[in-house]
Amino acid sequence: MTRNGPLALLYHALFVVFMLAPIVIVCIVAFTPEGYLSLPTHGLSLRWFRTIAQYPEFIRAFWVSIWLGALSSAIALSLSVPAALAIARYRFKGRDALATLFMSPLMIPPVVLGIAFLRFFSLVGLGGTFVGLVLSHVVIVFPFALRLTLASAVGMDRAIEQAAVSLGASDWTVFRRVTLPLILPGLVSGWALAFIQSFDEVTMTVFVAAPGTETLPVRMFLYIQDNIDPLVTSVSASVIALTAIALVALDRLYGLERLLAGRGINEP
């Protein structure tokens, strides 16, 4: 590996600062003892973390986000497996159109999707329900789930399944004993990525969520429209801390690189 010159090092350093500074500043501001957004100058305080407890809607919104992310990612994933296997293996009429359709939620602006869902759900009587929220999130996280599932399905040697067939395995057995375990790393990565997308989504969710089904980002967004106290920073800092703990745990259990690259277990 060649070493970076001083200019390149400076560039990389600036880039890292640019990426991390907002997060760091939010975390520092969260410890302010003041009643407004400011860098703590007269000591640190846990005041705003204690304040979270007085806002049960934040806690509830957090759990809505968790359940929403977990459910919509799981549903999107279970839909993406047959879709990915079909697209990866077969050449059929309308294959490209189907692949584009599956990816289209990435291309439609979330605002447009949000308005469309708002109208559609109120028409079919799902307006403001958790079910509606889950359905809308299934749509937006599906491309992410499909991408990673597809990557692992494409990379799989068909001969491995043919070997199982020649040994007498039925179609279902081949899927359960061979195909599924081999694409599992892709599925885990796909689920994780979809979960993050769902947890993060604000623009569309603002339209779909109703009081009682607000997600955490939506709750925070609505809060800072009316208030400018540092409560959102302490909530953000808590989420960042939870994410960090989750990532460390995942890395220990599974290996972060493997998770994010969706690599197969047959690779070293």
């Binding site: 001969a159 491995i160 043919q162 070997a163 020649s166 039925s170 277990i265 047959n266």
Partner: protein, 350 residues
């Protein structure tokens, strides 16, 4: 009736003919090789037998039963793939046990048979290893054990040795042949390597462009190639133009200044095909094909000569027996036995 019968087997993809009316009778316990260059239809043929490709026409009969109508999972054939296709998430023993599990073989018997199969391929101590921790040759053996343990009616091998290096490939050839003899399973091997096909098989099916060129024992295909393609594909050969005339009970063949008498009744312009190692040196007597030694290359156990004759360039291989050999720029006469010469009409008739 033969054990495995392929009758007028055919596969087309649109206008492209992958396999054209292939007929083959395989005896029980026989080792057959499908040999040919890539794209000759040999792998397609194997996949039709295995059931991964559906034939466009024709029939496959195993012990009298129609195989085409049978699901691939019900055919009871062992398949070894070029890529080994081991289950990467299972140990060697679990890989081998998979087929027995599918057959619902009981635990005790299964363990016993898995152990025996791994021992048969020389991997007794590797049961708990995962494929990624094994070398290519070891993975190949696991794949073989996995295919054999289910006691398949027929063993299908798709270029099983082509991913191994030359030395290992030779060892595995010998071992494969030995295992096949021990177990006695009817075997079909697909390969593009003519020496591999000759080393292993009872009979070779030489294929080209979707058609069968010749079905014969290795030695016969080599000594008496049915077509110019077979002659060229199975080792080196010299192709010399000449004329033939039937005179009395025999055929007089004239190639430049050389003359032979043959029993093959053929008339007119001919092409004679002679293997380089069948040609001997002699003095330049009348009626003998003569030429000038252009190059002479020493290759240890044999000499390779290139001789310029009136009939064109002729390659000669002579064993290094220690006796003096012609040098470059020597004038030599070339002889071979008439039966070592395959004759065919120059215009393509047989």
């Amino acid at each position: 009736m033969s054990f495995l019968v392929l009758r007028e087997l055919k596969k087309t993809y649109g206008d492209f003919v992958a396999v054209e009316a292939l007929s083959l009778d395989v005896q029980r316990g026989e080792f057959i090789s499908l040999l040919g260059p890539s794209g000759c239809g040999k792998t397609t043929t194997l996949q039709m037998v295995a059931g991964f490709v559906e034939p466009t026409g024709g029939a496959i009969l195993l012990d009298g039963h129609d195989l085409v109508a049978m699901k691939p999972s019900r055919r009871g054939l062992g398949v070894v793939f070029q890529s080994y296709a081991l289950f990467p998430h299972m140990t060697a023993a679990e890989n081998v046990a998979f087929g027995l599990e599918m057959q619902k073989v009981g635990r005790a018997e299964r363990d016993e048979r898995v152990r025996n199969a791994l021992e048969l391929v020389g991997l007794g101590g590797f049961a708990e290893r995962y494929p990624r921790r094994m070398s290519g040759g070891q993975q190949q053996r696991v794949a073989l054990a996995r295919a054999l343990v289910i006691r398949p009616h027929v063993l299908l091998l798709d270029e099983p040795l082509s991913n191994l290096d030359a030395k290992l490939r030779e060892e595995m050839q010998i071992e494969l042949r030995q295992i096949q003899r021990t177990v006695g399973t009817t075997t079909i091997l697909v390969t593009h390597d003519q020496s591999e096909a000759m080393a292993l098989s009872d009979r070779i099916v030489v294929m080209n462009g979707g058609r069968v060129e010749q079905i014969a024992a290795p030695q016969e295909a080599y000594e008496r190639p049915a077509t110019p393609f077979v002659a060229g594909f199975l080792g080196k050969t010299n192709e010399l133009s000449g004329t033939a005339r039937v005179e009395g009970g025999e055929t007089r063949v004239v190639i430049a200044d050389g003359r032979w008498a043959s029993r093959r009744p053929i008339d007119g312009a001919v092409i004679a095909s002679v293997r380089p190692e069948k040609i001997a040196f002699a003095d330049c007597a009348a009626g003998r094909l003569t030429g000038l030694v252009k190059t002479r290359i020493f290759q240890g156990n044999h000499w390779l000569y290139r001789i310029e004759t009136l009939a064109g360039q002729v390659f000669v291989i002579r064993q290094n027996g220690g006796e003096p050999m012609p040098a470059e720029n020597d004038k030599v006469g070339l002889t071979w036995r008439p039966e070592d010469m395959a004759l065919r009409a120059a215009d393509g008739r047989r």
